[in-house]
């Protein structure tokens, strides 16, 4: 296969404005060569616009795009060493699978087109369908052809725009593993845009969570999940319980906070706010029911709702000050509490995080059907 021009992808102060709306706002980002990078965010956060600017399908209002030292900001799309897997695949309906995959190679006058196409069709295990038309393939197969059509060109950067969005849940899981396998095998830089946090966490080495055209937080999936730095990230990646609290002491490495009259502790490094007013956060599955360990943050509450999910049970527990915390407990055989039961909750201080209290506690909370705007007055 052809040598690829190497280099990390750099976005420098990248901005895109549509009339009065700023889709991408002064974005700075470096995506290392060979990594699987995810841009994660709700619809309208600017992730797709960012991708399209890298592909050359949108012209940035300001800023620069570089691959290695090569500035491609002004480069025409057909000259960029970048290929895209489009959201609805955009396979050419008049060409068969082989010719779809060969399209990019033929345009660049590559040699050994047949060998290269056959090789990549083997990689996606569709060699036997080379002479079919795209409409004769299933959604999952079309998805793989779209991927093959892009990676056969060995681009410096491969862009994936919600590549699994059109597949059903089971197939999507399968393709997540498949995509990750292919990325490891071919070693190309993958930039993956998605609104599905699970998809991003399953595949990506590094995730940038985007909101309103800016990056909220950048990091590996575990860091983002365990250590969110904004309420948006805390809510958009999984669920979080956020309780209003006030720091009473910052002695040593430990932070002591007072939340509605109860005292909790957390490691100082896990609080990102310098102010004394904070949101105290804890993930629902980190909260233990009945058996808080020694040194844990503990509190009593009353169960108001029990949802049995099978692998786990989700409780809503009312705190003395009226707020309800979400608690998820593995079904390890322990008795299941009924609404009205009084329970002891506890979690380790190192599972607590502190966020800036000036942020909206509901930022990034996913609605029932995310993406679909709920019409005013609709009963949900």
């Amino acid at each position: 296969m052809a040598e690829t021009e190497g280099g990390d992808l750099h976005l420098r102060s990248l901005t895109k404005q549509f009339a009065a709306f700023t889709a991408v706002d002064d974005l700075d980002l470096t995506i290392p060569q060979g990594s699987f990078f995810a841009l994660l965010g709700p619809s309208g956060c600017g992730k797709t616009t960012t991708l399209r600017m890298v592909a050359g399908l949108e012209v940035p209002t300001a800023g620069q795009i570089l691959i290695g030292d090569n500035d491609i900001t002004e480069t025409k799309p057909y000259r960029r060493p970048v290929n895209t897997v489009f959201q609805n695949y955009a396979l050419f309906p008049h060409l068969d699978i082989f010719e779809n995959v060969a399209f990019g190679l033929r345009r660049r006058g590559a040699k050994d087109v047949k060998a290269k196409v056959d090789e990549v069709l083997e990689l996606i295990e569709l060699g036997h369908l080379a002479r079919r038309k795209p409409t004769q393939l299933s959604g999952g197969q079309q998805q793989r052809v779209a991927l093959a059509r892009a990676i056969v060109n060995r681009p410096s950067v491969l862009l994936l725009d919600e590549p699994l969005g059109a597949l059903d849940l089971k197939l999507r899981r399968q393709m997540q593993i498949e995509l990750k396998r292919i990325q490891t095998e071919v070693g190309l830089t993958f930039v993956h845009v998605t609104h599905d946090q699970e998809e991003a966490m399953t595949m990506a080495d590094t995730i940038a969570v985007m909101n309103n055209g800016r990056i909220e937080q950048l990091g590996d999936p575990a860091t983002l999940y365990e250590n969110p730095v904004t309420t948006f990230v805390a809510n958009f990646l999984g669920q979080s319980n956020l309780v209003r609290a006030r720091v009473t002491s910052r002695g040593g490495s430990e932070l002591v906070v007072d939340a509605q009259g109860t005292t909790f502790t957390m490691p100082g490094g896990r609080c990102v706010s310098d102010s004394d007013d904070i949101w105290l956060g804890v993930r629902p599955e980190k909260i233990q029911v009945d058996t808080p360990g020694a040194g844990a943050n503990t509190i009593k509450g009353t169960i108001t709702d029990t949802s049995y999910i099978g692998v786990s049970t989700q409780y809503l527990v009312r705190m003395p000050w009226g707020q309800e915390l979400t608690v998820i407990r593995q079904n390890d055989g322990a008795p299941i509490h009924r609404p009205g039961d009084s329970v002891d909750l506890g979690w380790e201080p190192e599972h607590t995080f502190g966020l800036d209290a000036s942020q909206d506690a509901n930022a990034g909370v996913e609605r029932e059907e995310d993406d679909e705007p709920v019409p005013a007055g609709a009963v949900s």
Partner: protein, 307 residues
């Protein structure tokens, strides 16, 4: 969801044949008016026409079916020039209509934005006037003292057309040039509308994908847009070529005696000479020739492979 709920114990097969048996008559009922219409006003007249072409006799003494195939031979040997001329004129007009219509349809489909509907209305606006009036208007447009002739004379384009034997003297009216212009103009909407319909259906993301896969804009057009618009090209060229080949108005109003097309000949044989067998034989020959040409064309264009 991919799973289908199965209702336990529910016999889902029982009602199906009842529904399908009842529904199966509906398509035939719906087809009936159309089929009846075609039978009475198309198939039957065709039989009459074919029979007429093989009859001998005269209008006064009456016609008899004598299976006189020689009428075909005589008609073709006498009028093959007009036949060939008709196909050349119609072919040229179709090509011109494609050259003019494709960019127009492309612009309306991809670049017109909110002007799309207005432009489409403008394309069909000529239909608000009768075909005859519109063709007569071209007499005025191309008249000896008009600005069009003036332009052609000033730019010496008229000399070029003269060299190509497309005009006579330094006039445009009553020339092959005028006939082809008239045909092109009159059938242009039949070209533009199918082209627009198939261009508009093209997913813009396919063009983006073409660019993303290293195709320059012109290559993307050649490899993506053009093949995907083939159904429109085929439909448009057929809708232009077929009526243009049989047209008898444009040549009559804009041409001269040496631009006579086959439609004019048939018109004359039926209505003035009153030689019904020859007229019928010419009509049949024209129809068959067009059918064969269209069959070859559609087969070559390979549109059956397109979605």
């Amino acid at each position: 969801m991919s799973t289908v709920a199965h209702i336990p114990g529910g016999d889902t097969r029982a009602p199906v044949p009842v529904v399908s048996r009842r529904a199966s008559k509906v398509p035939y009922l719906l087809l009936f008016p159309g089929i009846a219409w075609l039978l009475v006003f198309f198939a039957l007249p065709m039989v009459f026409l074919f029979s007429q072409s093989l009859q001998t006799g005269s209008l006064e003494e009456g016609y008899k079916l004598t299976w006189h195939f020689a009428t075909y031979k005589d008609a073709i040997s006498q009028y093959h020039v007009q036949f060939i001329r008709s196909f050349v004129y119609a072919g040229t007009a179709t090509l011109l209509a494609l050259l003019i219509g494709y960019p127009l349809a492309y612009a309306i489909a991809f670049k017109a934005g909110r002007w799309k509907n207005i432009l489409l209305v403008l394309v069909i606006a000529p239909f608000f006037t009768s075909f005859l009036i519109r063709t007569l208007a071209w007499q005025t447009i191309l008249s000896s003292n008009g600005p069009v002739v003036g332009f052609f004379r000033a730019t010496h384009l008229i000399d070029l057309l003269q060299a190509l034997h497309l005009v006579v003297g330094d006039d445009l009216l009553s020339t092959p040039f005028a006939v082809v212009m008239g045909l092109t103009y009159n059938f242009l909407p039949f070209m533009v509308l199918p082209l627009f319909a198939s261009l508009e259906r093209i997913d813009i993301r396919l063009l983006e994908a073409g660019g993303d896969l290293y195709a320059r804009p012109f290559t993307a057009f050649r490899k993506v847009t053009w093949p995907l618009s083939m159904p429109g090209v085929v439909a448009g060229t057929l809708l232009t070529f077929i009526p243009a080949a049989g047209d008898y108005i444009n040549s009559k109003l804009l041409g001269n005696t040496s631009t006579t097309m086959i439609g004019q000949v048939i018109d004359g044989q039926f209505l003035r000479v009153l030689d019904y067998p020859t007229a019928a034989a010419l009509s049949f020959t024209l129809m068959l020739t067009i059918l064969v040409l269209v069959a070859i064309y559609v087969h070559r264009a390979g549109t059956e492979e397109l979605v």
